[in-house]
Symmetry: C2
Subunit: 207 residues, 2 copies
Amino acid sequence: MENKGILIVVSGFSGAGKGTIMRALLDKYEETYALSVSATTRDPRPGEVEGREYFFRTVEEFEKMIAKEDLIEYAKYVDNYYGTPRTYVEEQLERGRDVILEIEIQGALKVKEKFPETLLLFVTPPSAAELKRRLEGRGTETPEVIASRMKRAREEAEYMDRYDYLIINDDLNECVEEMHQIIQGEHRRSYRNNAFMEHMKEDLKGE
Amino acid sequence: MENKGILIVVSGFSGAGKGTIMRALLDKYEETYALSVSATTRDPRPGEVEGREYFFRTVEEFEKMIAKEDLIEYAKYVDNYYGTPRTYVEEQLERGRDVILEIEIQGALKVKEKFPETLLLFVTPPSAAELKRRLEGRGTETPEVIASRMKRAREEAEYMDRYDYLIINDDLNECVEEMHQIIQGEHRRSYRNNAFMEHMKEDLKGE
């Protein structure tokens, strides 16, 4: 089969556990996956490391990246730019690693439009009640923040059907395994294996 | 997630090992899968059992099934009818089992047209040379039969890209596991989970 990696976008409700799943997936299968690191113009928060959480850039630097088409997608949220640098993604895909972008829905849809073979995964808890429970359970959020996250979830839910697969996060380990199997299964899609099919047709003529 | 089964069509080159894979898959996951048994008007061969290899029917009985639309698909090969009885398939899908039809390409495409959510899997050896080796290795086929199988494979290869997934049969156990994971992954497709998504949207409004 082809050895090129798949571009994967993971989105999901805030509180669905995306971050935890991603870390566990990348830990368990570090040779298989590469996580794309976004660039941003917002200030680093305490503990954040350049190149790990984000590439921190000035507005001028970021706008130069836009102009040079160095970003696969970008968006502005509340005065700050966020975007996905192209070079790293392309290098990793060429090396045969599946590259994961953890981005918002609008960004996800833009990437899919530009690269139709992108795999879109949406992470959701098993129910709305469970989502609320998890947001409250963190114990660090004010009721206003929780309410605004729930409002956002209502808006985001309208886009779930634009994703290829739903990942129901009930049990972390099962969820990580499921995501891995879905992605690996996608490598067997016929449209991702045109070279194999062409080869087979040619070889059959010779036999 | 939804509990309804998925209709799966498995096709592939003669000599690709479809039959062996199917038996191993059904043995290993007997609660998950049900194999659809075809009806035919051809005579039973020694050792074939009614309801196991085929449902053996007279031409009159078979044509009555066609008239009553009791068949999901049917075709005539060399004077004999072959077809897939509808009732068993529908019952098993309702019970939540994934139903596998092992049928020819033309039948597969007819089923997909009628039921667009059908999953089409194509089993192939890793190469044309390997296909020939396996056909010769059986030791039971004349050179003419092998040549005609290879000719057929050349024709069938033109339709590989109409299938959703390619299953490369290199190692039997890996292949069975891969097929299982692909099918189970398909259960997470968003378009197969409309009820879940509608529920989630409704519930989020209530929270």
